[in-house]
Assembly symmetry: C2
Homo-oligomer: 308 residues x 2
């Protein structure tokens, strides 16, 4: 069974929220940082609290490795422990590593992130160098069910620089074909070759919610690709934007990081005063849980609105 | 002073060879692996021997992080120690990490690889998400002279999938503009904004030697970009192909990994028998030194041929 099928099941059961553990040190309550022997340890203890609090609500978790690499070797130990903790709870985790290198090197990366210290259920990949930087990862779909989300059309300002460039030659339906279409077409071919019970391929795509009105067309055109959807919340996308990228109420997960991890900084105590200064991990975790529940419900409501 | 200017000086003094420390475990002589307490330790001891033997000949070193990630946390310690060893000798090292992520995340990656445990002099970057995944790294050019090589036109089979796609609209001189041209144009603008004494920008490009006859035109079109040139040796490129990408005898480094690190496996003992089975690191290092010297001289000869 592909992990993508398991993820499809988690979305059906729990909703579309992917909790992004982009744990920057300043996301952690100050008193918890002081209590820990290192920032790397503080990040691990914080992550465990967030994971415990959001596990019922989250379809899956995504761990941004840059936040841990920044802390050096100790940070990467926390990264490894965070993955292990999530998987130990029987839950799915995406290693947000955006790797993209060829042949032998891709095989080495795949072994690094699908086995051993850094084992994850999914990775994110970057397609620039071509499909020989993607295909070597696929053998792990058969052996261990592993999956990947390949960058296709992201949600950042810079997406216009290369992803949006118009290609020469054939048109795609009613509009010009762009670089991201070329990526989507190759990924659709992969999905057809490794299609799971859910109807989605073992490898999906990163497609951001841009709110630009073209998202429903992208969803329709690449129907076999399960989407990892960034851009929600702190990055500007709303529930309606995300819903436009979801097919029949499934087919994608919506990532949010800051708006969940930092929810505690905007949380008021019962007497109306902001008690962020006195916050601890339990306080942060409860705020994160509520933020994740609200996000899940907002997306469900938006989907119901699309149907209605 | 930008590291790119220092690299220009190293090329002028030592030639164009970049020794790629893509140290796979089976590149290490068997008796050395047995002697070490772990493969990660064996890789570190092997790397030191290769670095010592080739330092006079190499313009710089490149360390492929995938080979170390594959060994987990212990492998990343070897990665960190290898960078430290090269920099401790006063020599330049490129972290071949091909990172590409946006804004905050790019800043975190930059801190991870330009400071702390994993500090390198240069990194490799992937441009797919756009220039907001490249620009955050630039602040380190001013503060510590750091540099980068951004994937532009690589030398693998899959380069045709996306890098070579023809763009709609304006033509570039006598030929169609491709995705890699869009990358090259953006990088040239960066190079103009951060130009060093050598005439090259602080950030350069990865341009593979393909032997396809178009390399001289690429060299001419992107004159302000210092090139990191893969594809030599085991990947099929020859000295003439590499020379076509070098301007006035400088302006690029040519990476070789397997053909240097594994030179010992094809080396004969004085009595004519292959003694790869009895090889140790000293034997491998001497073979690597000779391979690097031959490569340096081959490229110099090819450059002299171009001038003649």
């Amino acid at each position: 069974m592909y992990n993508m099928d398991r993820l499809f099941g988690e979305v059906a059961e729990r909703g579309h929220v992917c909790v992004g553990l982009d744990t920057a040190v300043d996301y952690i309550p100050e008193r918890e940082r002081r209590r820990a022997v290192s920032d790397a340890q503080a990040a691990l203890i914080f992550n465990r609290a967030i994971i415990d609090a959001t596990a019922d609500t989250a379809a899956c978790f995504k761990v941004q490795i840059a936040c841990y690499e920044e802390m050096g070797l100790a940070g990467l130990e926390t990264y490894a422990e965070t993955l292990r903790y999530i998987r130990g709870k029987g839950r799915l985790v995406i290693a947000d590593i955006k790797r993209g290198d060829i042949a032998d090197t891709a095989l080495r990366y795949a072994k690094a992130h699908f086995d051993g210290d850094f084992e994850a259920d999914f990775v994110t990949l970057s397609p620039y160098m071509g499909m020989d930087s993607i295909e070597p990862w696929l053998s792990w779909a058969d052996s261990k069910g592993k999956g990947a989300f390949v960058l296709m059309r992201t949600s950042n300002r810079g997406m216009r620089d290369f992803e949006y460039l118009e290609l020469n030659g054939k048109e795609t339906g009613d509009r010009t074909r762009r670089v991201y279409d070329a990526v989507g077409e190759k990924l659709s071919a992969l999905a057809a070759a490794k299609k799971g019970k859910s109807g989605y391929g073992a490898f999906g795509a990163v497609v951001g919610c841009t709110g630009r009105g073209e998202d429903a067309a992208v969803r329709k055109r690449y129907g076999s690709l399960f989407f990892l959807i960034p851009g929600y919340g702190a990055q500007g996308g709303g529930a309606g934007d995300a819903a436009a990228l979801l097919k029949d109420g499934n087919g994608g997960i919506v990532n949010a990081s800051r708006s969940i991890l930092k929810a505690w900084t905007g949380t008021l105590s019962p007497d109306g005063a902001s008690n962020a200064k006195d916050a601890d991990n339990a306080f942060a975790a409860e705020a994160a849980r509520r933020a994740a529940v609200n996000m899940r419900d907002d997306i469900r409501a938006a989907l119901a609105g699309l149907k209605g």
